[in-house]
Amino acid sequence: MEGLSAELLLRIIVFGAVASGIWALAASGFSLIFGVVRILNFAHGTIFVLSAYFGITLTNYGVNPYVAFVASILFAGVFGVAMYKIALSPIRESKVMVIIVTLAIALLVEQILMMTFGEHGISFPSLVEGVVYVAGVPITYKRILTFIIAVIALISLEFFITRTKTGKMIMATAEDMEAAMLIGIDTEKALVITMFVSSILAGLGGLLYSQIFATTPIVSLKALIYAFAIVILGGLGSVRGSIVAAFIVGYTLAITISLLGARWSEFVVLLTIIAILIVKPTGLYGVEE
């Protein structure tokens, strides 16, 4: 009995770490773009899924998985910037229009993916093979790798925002766009870079996700909802809050799936968040709108 519960605990720890890492990537990108440009990007989950499908397609054509991995992340970035330039930049001022357009893009891509690839789940090939046994519980290397990549990416993000010149430029734009413009910051450039970074994070999250879980077009919605939930919990616009909240959500998810079953996962996670909101309506690290 004791052995069984230790095993369960270990499973929860590993699954929670992987889920937290992936959703932290998705959510921090979503939060970043909101914090800087003040747009709610409903197509964020779409970028997440699109990069996974792009990568899977490349490997199907015989491209080396490592090359495909990098190419897909770049594809995600380029897609995000193109979407921003073509569709979002002209309507940035209108809150409702941005929601409508990004939501329409999300549903459009979902439909096209559905018709092209079908509803069944597909996966990106494993970047590393092998299993390590910890106390008799098998843990695949790719799960460990996923967590490590996610942590490295999040640390790099933090470093990029707080330590580099470009990052500071972006933060200044987020703080006060007019003032940033007055001191000679090219704010439009800052927004484009932000969109690029945000999309890269989503793309990376999607690739890591599809390496472990079966990916379907509907995953875009799932990624979006988790990003929402995490960002609401962490506080809109706060990247650090998103990362903390991602771990809360990831572990709530892991515990729910292990104890109640997968079909309860979203329900319990979202109820938890709503319960927290009743106590603290602005999230853990809320910033001014």
Binding site: M97, A104, L107, Q111, M115, I225, I232, E266, L270, I274
Partner: protein, 320 residues
């Protein structure tokens, strides 16, 4: 004099709507009835969003709750008493309003973007219930009910016309009353509204509950119209269609969203199907949804202030 003109215009519109089954094929009348019920959803969304300025992305929660409440009252799944159809529709509205009251109390303390985000995840919470308890809610397929709004298609159409007319008329009276004026004050400047003594939270919640009530009525009526309840009534595409119709019609005008709702629904379910056939010879992944979303994106980029405003401004310019 103006009032008289309005009554005459209304009478003509109603007479026209009532006469449609005389010269329009039944398949189209069926769609028209659904479009009328869909218009209730759009107008009820407008009562909240167009008049208070709070973007509610969870409107389908209330559509779904109304729909499932009414459907469960018409089946033996929960051993609930079977109500007559009109009573189960009204019950759908009341349960939706009750849930709206609770959600409103929690979420309307939030401002702007938070409210939009929190309401955006709500439909998914409620949709999950359908999959968690398939024995009650019928899972992905939903379930059928026995008693519809009426027997024949034409009778159903008249029932839908009646429900839509009464619902929209009541909502119109509310927004044109002093309550509506206070809501507009909140939309224009919430702090100022508060400063002049309007209990903004109370009025926002009131608008939200009214909006939820009619969404529930609409959802329940749709279920009794098509005889099937399914999770699509909670789903995101329906939400987008509602937002789209309201924005195209012009937010905060009631009439605009009503007309937008009718046109968009018919365009999607009738006209677009024929457009898709044109593309059938190509191997491209195109269906009616793809075309709808493409049009939507292009229109939004070209006329970011909404089609209604866009056309109005164009006309103004042409007149000099």
């Amino acid at each position: 004099m103006k009032g008289m003109k309005r009554v005459i215009a209304l009478a003509i519109t109603l007479a026209f709507a009532a006469s449609l089954p005389l010269y329009i094929p039944e398949a189209f009348i069926y769609l028209l009835g659904l479009a009328l019920l869909f218009a209730i959803l759009v107008v009820s969304w407008d009562v909240m969003v167009g008049y208070t300025g709070y973007v509610n992305l969870g409107h389908t929660v209330f559509v779904g709750i109304g729909a499932y409440t009414a459907a469960l009252l018409q089946s033996q799944r929960l051993a609930l008493p079977t109500l007559p159809v009109p009573a189960s529709i009204v019950m759908g509205g009341f349960v939706a309003a009750l849930v709206g009251l609770f959600i409103g109390i929690v979420t309307l303390r939030l401002r702007g973007y938070y409210f939009a985000l929190v309401t955006a995840i709500l439909p998914l919470v409620f949709m999950q219930t359908v999959f968690i308890w398939p024995d009650i809610f019928g899972g992905e397929e939903g379930f059928t009910i026995e008693h519809g709004l009426a027997g024949s298609v034409v009778e159903k159409y008249y029932a839908a016309l009646l429900i839509a007319f009464v619902s929209i008329a009541v909502m119109l009276l509310i927004v044109n009353s002093p309550v509506g004026l206070k809501l507009k004050a909140i939309r224009e400047d919430e702090e100022l509204a508060e400063a002049v003594g309007i209990d903004t939270v109370k009025y926002k919640i009131m608008a939200f509950v009214i909006s939820s009530f009619f969404a529930g009525i609409g959802g329940a009526a749709i279920v009794h119209y098509r005889m099937v309840v399914a999770p699509d009534l909670y789903d995101i595409p329906l939400m987008l269609l509602v937002i789209l119709s309201a924005v195209i019609g012009g937010l905060g005008t009631i009439y605009g969203p009503m007309i937008g709702g009718l046109l968009i629904y018919l365009a999607k379910n009738w006209w677009l199907k024929e457009v898709v056939d044109v593309f059938r010879f190509t191997a491209l992944p195109i269906n009616d949804d793809v075309i709808l979303y493409l049009i939507l994106i292009v229109v939004a980029i070209l006329m970011p202030e909404g089609v209604y405003q866009g056309i109005k401004e164009k006309l103004k310019k042409e007149r000099g």
